[in-house]
């Protein structure tokens, strides 16, 4: 599990990536994050991030009924969202390579 201070920077990236795969609603995204082993994201962190994506035009919401209980707000990634995702994925990749390089230098043989 990723510690919280790191997650803060990469939550948006994770959300955009998951939305690019398929549209989803908040609780579903939280479960996918947990299943991927990234983090258990509390609602107070996840929902503001989703609203922010929506307000900055990176994802569009639509309401859909659910079989059990109240209707859900599904988010779909926008073209602008895909652009940001591509940029951030590249950044992440550079960052990860850098960290990996540093870690392999000290890794136990």
């Amino acid at each position: 599990m990723m510690s919280k201070p790191w997650l803060h920077g990469f939550l948006d990236l994770c959300l955009l990536a998951m939305l690019a795969e398929r549209a989803d609603y908040g609780y579903g995204l939280a479960q996918r994050l947990a299943a991927a082993g990234v983090a258990d994201v509390p609602g107070g962190t996840l929902y503001p991030a989703l609203l922010r994506l929506e307000e900055q035009g990176l994802a569009v919401p639509s309401w859909a009924p659910s079989e059990s209980g109240p209707r859900r707000k599904y988010y779909e990634i926008t073209p602008a969202g895909r652009t940001v995702l591509a940029e951030q994925a590249a950044q992440w990749s550079r960052f990860r390579t850098g960290v990996d390089t540093l870690l392999t230098a000290v890794a136990p043989r």
Partner: protein, 269 residues
């Protein structure tokens, strides 16, 4: 807790969110809670705190780099500040500027005037020379004292809340929430004088923060903290900074200084 959305909405409006937007955010938030079939208080915590959190979060740009917080507006400026007690000069020519999103440390030998300077920043002591500009909402955590021995933590929350014009119930829930961030759950009925030194300092910290000030002035606030709590404390300082607040902390621990944006060394006596 059916009035959670109302309180959430009211706090958004109080924070300057325009009416229609505040309504929309309130509806969204209620719908999100319904999705998980949890009540909003359980999912998001106290309504007013979540409102503040949401407003801060929405203002931040989407970005993948771990955030390096852009400094906000200047919240405290000291220019040429001096203080004398009778013949003895305690401070002279002190300059300091702290912006929102910054942490400043005041260091120096014992008796070099660190606490006096912090009291000047608070407005509890007047400087003899120089000028001070400061934001209005300020929280001050003294080195010791600052609590009423016969009152419980809950009663302190109510008392300090009342001073800031907050109704007791809401002040108590805010206090409990802030205490939890320092890994502390006040025991009902336990008076401040019965708390350990470290726990009393946690109470002190929560009281300084209860009215959500823009500028926090902390005078060696971690005395009696164990290692874990000490880390919680710095974690909290960074959370304040990330929320755009300014923090001025008096310290004598040099390894704290890696964590701060400014160091003001008052030097030897």
């Amino acid at each position: 807790m059916s009035d959670w959305p109302d309180r959430f909405h009211a706090e958004l409006v109080r924070l300057g969110v325009p009416g229609p937007r505040a309504r929309r955010l309130t509806e969204d938030t209620a719908a999100q809670a319904a999705e998980t079939t949890t009540d909003p208080a359980g999912l998001f915590g106290p309504a007013h705190l979540y409102a503040r959190h949401l407003v801060t979060e929405l203002a931040a740009p989407v970005g993948a780099t771990p955030p390096r917080y852009a400094s906000g507006p200047v919240l405290l400026t000291l220019a040429g500040v001096g203080k004398r007690y009778r013949r003895r000069t305690v401070l002279s020519g002190v300059d300091l500027t702290v912006r929102g999103g910054e942490v400043a440390a005041i260091v120096g030998a014992n008796g070099c005037g660190k606490s006096t300077l912090l009291r000047i920043c608070a407005g509890l002591t007047r400087p003899d020379a120089g000028t001070v500009h400061r934001t209005r909402r300020v929280g001050y955590v003294p080195q010791d004292g600052g609590t009423a021995g016969w009152l419980t933590a809950d009663e302190h929350f109510a008392l300090f809340g009342a001073a800031a014009g907050v109704v007791p119930g809401r002040a108590r829930s805010t206090g409990a929430h802030l205490a939890a961030k320092l890994a502390w759950r006040p025991e009902p009925g336990q008076r401040a004088q019965q708390l350990s030194g470290g726990t009393r300092q946690k109470l002190n910290l929560v009281l300084g923060e209860l009215h959500s000030p823009d500028l926090l002035l902390l005078d060696e606030p971690y005395q009696g903290f164990d290692q874990g709590t000490y880390l919680d404390f710095w974690h909290q300082v960074h959370a304040w900074r990330d929320a755009g607040r300014a923090v001025v902390v008096v310290t004598h621990l040099l390894h704290d200084l890696g964590n701060v944006d400014h160091v003001l060394d008052l030097g030897e006596r």
